[in-house]
């Protein structure tokens, strides 16, 4: 008998608690199996997981788009720091 498959399906609450570790690939093998079994049959958690991942990418994108702009270092601040060094 396969003890892992005999385990009850975890709840949405448990799955959502696992998401950050799932994305970090830090789940224990048994937790990973529990996660996979739940996500395979729960469309709501699949949607939650996808939107959680999108949130992370969007947070990064919303805060890095300004990096495309090559702005100059403020001269007054450079002068102040160089003066303080001496």
């Amino acid at each position: 008998m396969n003890e892992t498959l005999d385990r009850p399906i975890i709840t949405c609450r448990e799955l959502i608690d696992f998401i950050a570790d799932y994305l970090d690939r830090a789940l224990e093998p048994v937790q990973q199996l529990d996660f996979d079994r739940h996500i395979a049959r729960c469309s709501s958690c699949r949607a939650y997981l996808a939107s959680y991942e999108t949130t992370i990418r969007l947070a990064k994108a919303a805060n890095t788009e300004d990096q495309a702009i090559v702005d100059a270092a403020p001269d007054d601040l450079i002068r102040a720091i160089l003066a303080m060094r001496k």
Partner: protein, 200 residues
């Protein structure tokens, strides 16, 4: 690991107290580091102060630069620490928790009370919209500081859980909890925004 050749030459000049080398370092790295400090401090004057403190500290400790990383990552770490120090000195409010209304709700059986539905746009499509970028930045700014700082360090500055925990003086487990709740709160606000857009 040794410093990359370009860094090694510059570090040698910095250690020799070469004025041009100090200015070159400032001009090369300051724009990026100012952006980092602004994310933490949300205030131009404080960001400039933090960057100034960081560079002065870097100049004074250049002899201790171990070449185990690049100058860019070494300076990044110093600016993050200077920004955190600045936050600590200006902290006036008791720590807040994330509003429960921004976290998912579960029924007694552990299932989501309000089932999640797929988003119609990808991160790239949303990031292309200036209103959405503004919304996301605004939501991050409004997170309780303890959670906002963790989200910035982990998801924006791409620091590890361990580095973040060490810099903040908290446990890796606390970093994980705060990060997860901050992401969930942000996700809820984006979800609401998308649903409102669908209704209007």
């Amino acid at each position: 690991m040794t410093a990359i050749p370009h860094d090694a030459a510059l570090v040698a000049r910095l250690r020799a107290k070469d004025d041009d080398a100090f200015e070159a370092l400032l001009r090369t790295h300051m724009p990026r580091l100012l952006r980092v400090a602004r994310r933490f401090l949300q205030n131009e004057e404080d960001a400039r102060d933090a960057v100034q403190d960081a560079f002065i500290s870097a100049f004074r400790s250049i002899d201790r630069f171990e070449s185990g990383s690049t100058l860019a990552t070494w300076l990044h770490r110093i600016v993050v620490n200077a920004s955190l120090m600045k936050l600590r000195t200006r902290r006036r409010h008791p720590e807040e928790e994330i509003d429960d209304a921004l976290l998912p709700k579960f029924a007694a059986d552990g299932h989501q009370v309000e089932p999640s539905t797929p988003w119609s746009m990808s991160a790239e499509e949303m990031a292309a919209q200036s209103e959405m970028r503004e919304l996301v930045r605004g939501c991050i700014e409004q997170l309780p500081e303890t959670h906002r700082v963790v989200l910035i360090m982990r998801d924006l500055e791409e620091m590890s859980t361990e580095e973040t925990a060490k810099a903040l003086g908290i446990t890796p487990a606390a970093v994980k909890v705060r990060l997860h709740r901050a992401r969930q709160a942000l996700r809820t606000q984006i979800d609401r925004c998308l649903k409102e857009g669908r209704r209007s």
